[in-house]
Symmetry: D2
């Protein structure tokens, strides 16, 4: 059961011929423009990413999408419904690996576009100081965050979404509920692996 969103389901789409030499003249904007149907530069094929996941921590961004009112207060929190590996529906946040030579801002924008579509109009934070850093370990119990596939260090941001959401890829739907509802134990219980804790921390930080 995947806990952080993975590129593995897309690996068949990966065009290895595009990768070599492509970094020579790459610009940061390539990562944004590359966020459509093709995989962006920096993508790894499954054997490379599998090896890396056994060897060193992987950088992730994790985004709590929110709707805000005119005073900046969170009115709704968005969670994603996805089909997991075992066909069960799971509830999660927007997460994704930061690619080679991709900036954190580009990774945040790309992963939001991947899950919510191109007209979500996310308002990216002015500062990259994350509200929390979540450390996922492949060993249950080592930390509050568990990811069976890898050791991941996830920089977590709250991002207001000003536009319309068109769920894409594996995302079946985006559900918006009030902060009070999202904190209900039965709701949080649907987000395993520690994502419930990230939402708690996000709301504690946002007040």
């Amino acid at each position: 059961m995947p806990v952080l969103n993975d590129e593995v389901p897309d690996e068949g789409d990966y065009d290895a011929s595009r990768r070599r030499g492509e970094f020579d003249d790459i610009t940061p904007d390539d990562f944004i423009r590359g966020s459509g149907h093709d995989n962006p530069p920096g993508w790894l094929d499954s054997s490379d990413i599998d090896r890396a996941r056994r060897q060193l921590p992987i950088v992730y961004v994790e985004i709590v999408p929110v709707r805000t009112d005119e005073l900046g207060r969170i009115s709704k929190v968005g969670t994603l419904l996805r089909a997991g590996d075992d066909s069960a529906i799971e509830r999660t946040l927007i997460t994704g690996r930061v690619l080679f030579h991709e900036s954190l801002r580009e990774a945040v924008a790309r992963n939001i576009a991947k899950d919510l579509g191109d007209i979500a109009l996310p308002i990216l934070p002015v500062s990259l100081q994350p509200f929390t850093v979540a450390e996922f370990f492949p060993t249950p119990g080592v930390s509050e965050f568990y990811d069976p596939r890898q050791h991941a260090v996830a920089l977590c941001y709250v991002v207001p979404i000003a536009g319309d959401c068109k769920p894409q890829d594996e995302t079946l739907d985006v559900e918006w509920v009030s902060p009070a509802e999202v904190l209900r134990p039965d709701y949080l219980a649907q987000m395993p692996g520690g994502h419930d804790r990230i939402i708690r921390r996000a709301l504690a930080w946002a007040e």
Copy 2:
């Protein structure tokens, strides 16, 4: 020479008959709606505010208005040109006292509307964690921040401005320059009392 914006120039407009009893049924929105020509509830007449300023620290918000690009990066920083007490033009940020029974978010919104007008469309921060807290003392040299009138504790926020600015009140103009320009020593030198340091810290925090 005023260093933090002051309500003193408006004191003649203050209608004391409005104050008593008005807090009984006040709602937070009153502070926003009250931000036009009349002074909002919580305003003090000049003898009351003068006494308070000799007795205890005063809560302020200080806002660095910015323009951001689609990745959240600061493209422009806004500074205000104002006519000071001695008719000299001075450059400053958006600052204002938090009124009795007014929330910080309301104070941020009200002070932006007061200086930039009603269609500035500020994007208030999701969290009230300030990027810095500036302590202004009436004694030069005690801290990096000096305000001859008072001891003020200013919570500082960077606020993206999405709309149009119509300078109002004592604000003669809003000038937008790039982060590199605003950090030029001759530019920072135009902002006395420590506001230059607040801009430096804002840009250090925003990266």
Copy 3:
């Protein structure tokens, strides 16, 4: 029932003859040295503080005292047991008003010394960026924080305590419990007025 610690119980000790003119040559260290049996400069008599409390927000610091292990993780959280106005025992955090011409750091140090004694050896934060700002209003329901006496803006800090605690003044005892215990609903329920929320936020921020 007091919610934020108050100087009212001490007002009889206040020596008004010390105040006038004393600010002329004051230094920041006076506030620290002044933290013993006498009230420090900046203290207000009860009629002055009562008037101020009806007129403008009051600046507070609120401290969550903790014990940490060698990796900086919180092992224990401290709460204070105090005798309230109606002789009932109440559980609270370290809170106190910031005095005129007193810096936030001095206020944090003074209030810790007042409640925990002079050999508590607090490790003050390197940055004054608070983990949260709590806005207490005298009207129930306006915010998550309620203080019947006043509108207070409290900058909140987590401060590791490295030394021994000798409870002082109205503080009857300091109780140290693990983060898991302090988050138990029955424990948090003993801290009314929103202090339970400040502890929750402190632990969400500290991870």
Copy 4:
């Protein structure tokens, strides 16, 4: 010329026979205890780390060591003098890669011990919220931070040092100067690759 500290100089010490299977029963403390002469678990041999550096961003911690006074204010900032690859002396901060299955706190403690010795008595932060995140790219000009070897994402912390420093490994000396001195242009100019910017941001955040 290395910009972030590297494990390459130590690669000959690496005992590959220790790695396989060792993660099965590993505990977080192993990383701390493993910080002496032998490389800790999670260390990679040079071909593995070289491959990873061409494929994905590497997680780093970067530490600004400081001396603080009793109010938590920075009195001195520490910088390291090291012998670079070309025998030139270079000035840097404490930096190091986060190893597989190592927590950020362990990485901070291990890297401080590696450079400053075992009796430095660092006071690790209560929260892992970094004051800044520095993104180093192998392409000059892409960001303010440049590392010819890799794309690194460095979480940056200010850590007070309470004990004695015994420079170790490649570290020749630790130099402590005041915040005013460290910000002098000629001093900052000795720290290439963006470490000067990290110090600027640290001091802007710490005030």
